[in-house]
């Protein structure tokens, strides 16, 4: 297969998800790279098939039928590579095959460290950034008894354990205690019963040798640099790299059928979230933007962000809310948010018990789809709450570390919160990207826009986009070979630019209905933001022009500085402009009927229901 970007013309990429394997064909056309055909098939990692390549071949077959391009070699009989490799003949074969994977629940890790808000949190960031689900984080100060920690590790059966603790040159005791716990638990790996469980040691470098002595007999051990070498700095890359290496050598290669799949591609298979993270990072850094991206699936919600830290450096973060989702995990959203928080987003009345029963039915029959508009709105209300909760989770972990070195003893490190600051600043956010069925496939793009505005409580002026067909994993792995092609396809075929949200923060004492700001596109007035109302305006579609938002009150904050005008050159995309005057945090009506009236008015103003 070819990997030289100059020679590539046709690339087939799959994402082997937990339930569906999605194959996309990328082709170089006279006007550049485009995504051209798509096929999908159920993922086949479970019995009776238990071979991921069967589902992948079914997805290839669909692409082949739709594109009329011969992709699978006629001579393929289950051995070697199945592809017809392009030999210059047009309409024949492919040049390269790539894949990402989250099948079998994705990469599942545990992290263990000394202090919850320090080494353990750094370890969590390293694991999440590598695309893992962190099943649990064990630390000396997590309030659990030793036997509870041991039982937890044993019960969860992680794919990989990341062991951290202590700054370099600091106390060795806590990290060695964490090693003791791990030793006592003796967890079995999820796949490959005869294998030793991979453990990555990324703690105090001076305790590495002793930890190695303790663990090497029972575990496949890799020692890397400390993720938290000092109190105020992190070094996550070596641990992330070790996670990727173990993912390929121990997790992927022992998952059903992956031994074959890994041989089909010259490029390592990436964990799906790591590929999405790749794309988010690349997009943010190449355009110098601060980006927030959420992928809301059936079982989990992933949140990715790139925000600049106090020193102006872009910092990438990813979190996964493992039990917040739209189908399998929908009842968890119900439990965490409560029915009243879901109902507040609806333009119709529904009892708590009806919400509970409907969502439980979605939980037990996750593949059903809403048929009535009211049922659709209920799912979209759940989405808002799942986004809100997962962003709360993300904000708690996406933190910057202060650059001031402070002399602290080991007794002080349990109260180190002062050295952390939140990175996510919605007022500074440039672009939000929504992904996952409920956002990407919302029948009306305004619905997707409103879900993101409400769920994330966006502030200031923010571009609203969605991933058209959940293409970011495919583009993330394509980046490894041909980043220019990935960029082109991302902008042209992946990112659907819905429009912009204008959501000022202002003094709550301003009376309802007061105009707060005026909005202009290329000098032409489009409308005003009014306190307490959500309105829609239309810009020309698919244009580049200047958007200007002029505050009408000195407390109106659109950019971090109250009273200051916001002005920028924008791409209008679908041209939808949503003018949100509900303030932040959103000022909710205290009385039920008024809450409902306002929600109905919003849906009417945005054209989501007929007046």
């Amino acid at each position: 297969m070819i990997t030289d970007p100059e020679k590539l013309n046709t690339i087939l990429v799959t994402d082997c998800g937990s339930t569906t394997t999605k194959a996309l064909l990328f082709e170089r056309r006279p006007d550049g790279w485009r995504q051209t055909f798509r096929g999908e098939a159920p993922t086949t990692v479970e019995e009776p098939v238990a071979d991921v390549t069967v589902g992948a071949l079914n997805a290839f077959q669909e692409v082949q039928e739709l594109s009329s391009r011969q992709i699978i070699s006629e001579n393929y009989a289950g051995q070697g590579t199945p592809f017809l490799i392009t030999d210059g003949a047009p309409g024949q074969g492919i040049d390269l095959y790539l894949s990402t994977s989250s099948a079998g629940g994705g990469l599942q890790m545990m992290v263990a460290g000394a202090v919850k808000t320090m080494s353990t949190e750094s370890a969590e960031r390293a694991a999440l950034g590598a695309g893992a689900i962190v099943m649990d984080a064990i630390s000396a100060d997590d309030g659990r008894e030793d036997h509870e920690r041991v039982e937890r590790i044993r019960h969860l059966r992680p794919d990989i354990v990341l062991l951290t603790g202590g700054v370099d040159g600091g106390s060795k005791v806590h990290v060695l205690e964490a090693a003791e716990i791990l030793l006592a638990a003796s967890p079995r790996p999820r796949f490959g019963e005869t294998l030793r469980l991979p453990v990555i040691y990324a703690g105090n470098s001076e305790a590495a040798e002793e930890a190695q002595e303790m663990l090497k007999a029972k575990y496949q051990l890799s020692v890397v640099s400390n993720v938290r070498p000092t109190l105020e700095s992190e070094n996550l890359e070596p641990a992330r790299k070790a996670i990727h290496d173990f993912f390929l050598s121990h997790v992927m290669s022992h998952s059903p059928g992956y031994d074959k799949l890994l041989k089909w591609s010259p490029v390592p298979v990436m964990p799906t979230p790591a590929a999405v993270g790749n794309m988010v990072q690349r997009f943010a850094e190449s355009k110098n933007l601060q980006v927030l991206c959420a992928d809301i699936g059936g079982a989990t919600t992933d949140v990715f962000s790139v925000f600049r830290d106090a020193g102006g450096q872009p910092i990438f973060n990813r979190t996964v809310s493992a039990n917040l989702g739209m189908s399998y995990s929908v009842a968890n959203v119900l439990i965490e948010a409560g029915p009243s928080k879901i109902a507040r987003w609806l333009p119709y009345q529904i009892s708590d018990s009806e919400i509970r029963d409907r969502l439980r039915n979605k939980m037990i029959r996750p593949t059903t789809i809403p048929q009535t508009i009211e049922d659709l709105w209920l799912e979209q209300a759940v989405c808002r709450e799942a986004l809100r909760l997962s962003l709360d989770h993300h904000r708690s972990l996406a933190v910057g570390l202060s650059g001031v070195r402070q002399a602290r003893g080991i007794a002080d490190i349990f109260s180190q919160k002062a050295s952390r600051y939140e990175l996510v600043d919605r007022m500074k956010l440039d672009v939000v990207v929504g992904s996952g069925g409920v956002l990407s496939h919302a029948p009306d793009r305004v619905q997707a826009a409103l879900m993101m505005i409400d769920g994330f409580a966006l502030e200031g002026v923010t571009q609203l986009t969605v991933d058209s067909i959940f293409m970011m994993p495919h583009l993330g792995v394509l980046c490894e070979v041909n980043p220019q092609a990935a960029d082109q396809i991302f902008i042209r075929d992946c990112l659907v630019k819905i429009g912009y949200a204008v959501a000022p923060v202002f003094n709550a004492k301003i009376p309802d209905g007061t105009p707060l700001a005026e909005v202009y596109y290329n000098g032409e007035r489009l409308g005003s933001v009014h306190k307490g109302r959500v309105l829609k305006a239309q810009m020309p579609m698919d244009q580049s022009g200047e958007l200007k938002v002029q505050p009408l009150h000195r407390s109106v904050n659109l950019s971090g500085e109250p009273g200051r005008e916001w002005r920028n050159t924008i791409q209008t995309g679908h041209g939808i402009l949503i003018l949100d005057g509900r303030n932040r945090p959103i000022e909710w009506a205290s009385e039920g009927s008024e809450l409902l009236r306002r929600q109905v008015e919003i849906f009417e103003n945005l054209g989501l229901v007929q007046r």
Partner: protein, 368 residues
């Protein structure tokens, strides 16, 4: 052209069921290939490793790790009894001795020099594996697992709670009757009750108190489930709930009559013993709760849900609002995607409901 997958639950007699039974840890399988087993028979035994206690000697005695090591009265691999001295430290001038005593019986598994900690492994616990399904052992994996086969009547539910149970089937209500306490038998010891729909929390608790080991019904509301379990269930991953009566619903949450077909099949086996489990796993490789009643002889039939694709004339039930719980027959299967009320385009079918109405429904919202 790929065929759309339409899920369905098995409700059928004459089904050959094979069950894999596996010990959690290697142990001993007590039966041989070809043996006949009863549902409650113990077919495997193993010893589950005891939990490990970390004895923090230096912290507990207020001494340095090296002092703790010097005072150790045990060594690696020693068996110790509860109350036995693990460590003794002589304080000021050797006068004030402090001691650390073993909190439980166990074996010394590790001693860490750096921390002064000792690992005490508690004795292992015996675990037993029951057959669950009465039938013939068709294969044995030594020390680990076995497979049992039997010809059964089988009813799968959509959701359940509680683990494996075995009891005598007894009808308590017709499919469309809402369950009320008066329907419960005064003594329900060892019974698997079935029928009706919408039991209250109190009904469930009373049935369990009267000794019932299982209930199969049409539906229940979320509130009754929460009340019965004592907590809100977040994921449809069940089977380990701490309840004495397992519960299976055949239709879903809310107030929906029990499946006529399931009720009829169970009624035809009333008085016989059934194995059942509420274990449900709604993930890839879904596990649905089930009731199994062993049949003696008779011809093997194909499970109703197995292999039958969606076609004109297929009997369906609708599993989402606005027609949730209604049954009908497929009269048309349009090939093209159709716009539905939400504005989405999806593949649909048209079905004639039992009341004569012909309705359009997304194919994703029906079960066979």
């Amino acid at each position: 052209m790929k065929q759309a997958f339409t899920p369905g639950l098995c409700v059928s007699g004459g089904v050959t069921v094979r069950k894999d039974r596996e010990l959690a840890v290697p142990g001993e399988i007590l039966v041989r290939e070809g043996d006949s087993v009863e549902p409650t028979q113990v077919v495997g035994r193993a010893q589950l490793q005891g939990e490990l206690l970390i004895l923090r000697l230096s912290e507990q005695l207020g001494i340095q790790p090296d002092e703790a090591l010097q005072g150790l009265k045990v060594k690696l691999g020693d068996s110790v009894s509860s109350g036995q001295i693990i460590c003794e430290h002589a304080g000021l001038f050797g006068l004030l001795k402090s001691r650390y005593l073993a909190p439980r019986d166990g074996t010394i598994e590790f001693i860490t020099e750096r921390t002064g900690h000792v690992g005490l492994r508690l004795p292992s616990k015996p675990i037993e594996l029951k057959a669950y399904l009465g039938g013939k052992v068709i294969s044995v994996t030594p020390a680990r697992a076995l497979r049992i086969e039997a010809r059964c009547s089988m009813v799968q539910g959509i959701f359940g709670v509680g683990g494996e149970q075995h009891g005598q089937l007894q009808a308590i209500a017709a499919p469309s009757e809402a369950l009320v306490d008066e329907m419960l038998p005064a003594v329900a010891e060892g019974k698997v009750l079935f029928g009706g729909h919408s039991p209250s929390e109190q009904f469930l608790k009373t049935a369990a108190e009267r000794g019932a080991v299982g209930l199969i019904t049409g539906s229940m509301d979320d509130k009754a489930l929460k009340g019965y379990l004592g907590y809100d269930l977040g994921l449809a991953l069940t089977g380990n709930e701490n309840v004495t009566m397992s519960v299976i619903i055949t239709e879903g949450f809310g107030s929906i009559a029990m499946s006529e077909r399931a009720h009829k099949l169970l009624s035809s086996r009333a008085g016989q013993n059934a194995s059942m489990t509420g274990a449900t796993q709604v993930r890839a490789g879904a596990i649905r709760p089930e009731v199994l009643i062993i049949e003696s002889g008779g011809a093997e039939k194909k499970g109703i849900a197995e292999g039958d694709g969606l076609q004109i004339g297929s009997k369906i039930r609708i599993i989402r609002v606005p027609y949730f719980g209604l049954r009908g027959e497929v009269v048309e299967l349009p090939f093209e995607q159709t716009k539905i009320e939400t504005g989405a385009y999806t593949r649909v079918l048209r079905a004639r409901l039992e009341d004569g109405r012909v309705v359009t429904v997304p194919r994703a919202n029906v079960e066979l």
